[in-house]
Symmetry: C2
Subunit: 226 residues, 2 copies
DNA sequence: TTCGACAAGTTGTTCAACAATCGAGCCGAA
DNA sequence: TTCGGCTCGATTGTTGAACAACTTGTCGAA
């Protein structure tokens, strides 16, 4: 399987692209493909073929690598190359460590109570479950938890959560997909939101911690298997 | 004042430097100087003179810029150049928004209770206050709050806090230094630590929120003045 | 088999060139 | 004078080629 088959024809058309964002453009291109699983965890991103496919120079590509490395999407090993990050068990633990602080904190202390996006995410999750769509459930679940952190109103925490969720996708991609993994959590989310809206914030936070612990445990177990 | 006077002779000596880290080296060089206030907020980092001073090529310098931009230490304006970030009032609010979630969360839910570093930071703060050293008090205070987040045991949250504190230093550098700003907070920190060690975690978290609100208010006021 | 020298392939870094953009200063019209 | 548009110089954005340094695998000698 050549890189061309995985990433056909990403060369940007010369029209309507601005000067001064090629590096970011290349980064977003790769980020997309990695997030979609087309570039699997562990895959090596060799400079020369990628330059060819993206239609950018090596120097520009390296700027893109620097950006992605800062997001932990990609791992740079000096003199060896750049690889799509393959999360370790420790990475999984770290991801959930972060989430167990961020999400309960958001539920407990956020001043905003705009929960429309949360309800929408839960609804989308139910629809996906009915339709039997695993990616749909996964994405809806991510939206819900991103939405919880968005309650903080902080761009930085949002960004941190976005990055952590991007790494979660890498975790999923590096393991066998279990269709049953996401489905029970939809009701968990609903319960959390219910408590939150009832003003029982610490109860909501507790449910969240409980959810996160169970999810971590399941993921670690699946990771050990793979 | 030329760049040479501000950053004399940073060119790295050819001996004992490894291949494959020049970009990171340049980034850390600049980070240091910015953190120390030698490169003030708003200062333009022109490529050519900086290449000269650092002894690296433009491409490598640009990799360093990408790194620093990811840390919000530096702001890139397309086709205009790279500048040391000059925090706005909104930035200050955002910084404290992050801190008001991170630090109370650490106090409330961290599993570690290793408070040696916190005691040490408070002691250093008292020494600095006796010695009348404003930078000493500032640095001790930062150490204390970094230490609180370190209780989470999470590298990511640590890193986030490190970045936020780096931006705090930019805030200080872009305003007139008020010698009285830091001194009262040493006792606040002591009170917080006392509650935490007594197991009264929510009380500690409340004190922390209170401290952060007061600090934010003072900084915003000082910022409006400047 | 084991070890080390060597060769090939990649990454790290530099350099020089050109394209695109910005901003200052100049000029002329109202 | 003041305003708008213009040109021009300086700086940034991007490229391609070149070379240095490192990694890996191979081959042959002991």
């Amino acid at each position: 399987m050549t890189l061309y088959e995985i990433l056909p024809d990403l060369r940007r058309q010369s029209v309507d692209v601005r000067h001064a964002e090629t590096g970011l453009w290349a980064a977003s291109m790769l980020r997309e493909r990695i997030s979609a699983g087309q570039l699997a965890p562990g895959a090596k991103l060799s400079e020369e073929p990628l330059c060819e496919v993206l239609g950018v120079s090596r120097n520009t590509l390296r700027e893109a690598f620097a950006t992605l490395a800062g997001e932990h999407v990609v791992t740079r090993i000096p003199n060896r190359g750049v690889f799509v990050t393959r999360p370790t068990a420790d990475d999984i633990r770290e991801i959930y460590r972060v989430r167990r602080f961020l999400e309960p904190a958001a539920l407990t202390w956020s001043t905003s109570a705009k929960t429309d996006a949360l309800h929408a995410a839960i609804a989308r999750g139910r629809d996906a479950r009915s339709a039997g769509s695993v990616p749909g459930m996964a994405s809806a679940n991510q939206d819900f938890h991103a939405g919880v952190v968005a309650l903080t109103g902080s761009n930085r925490l949002d960004l941190q959560m976005t990055q952590v969720l991007a790494e979660m996708r890498l975790v999923f991609h590096s393991m066998v997909a279990n269709p049953l993994f996401h489905s029970p959590y939809i009701d968990d989310n609903d319960g959390i939101l219910e408590r939150f809206e009832a003003g029982e914030r610490s109860a909501a936070a507790e449910l969240m911690v409980d959810y996160l612990r169970r999810a971590e445990e399941q993921l670690l177990e699946a990771h050990a298997r793979s």
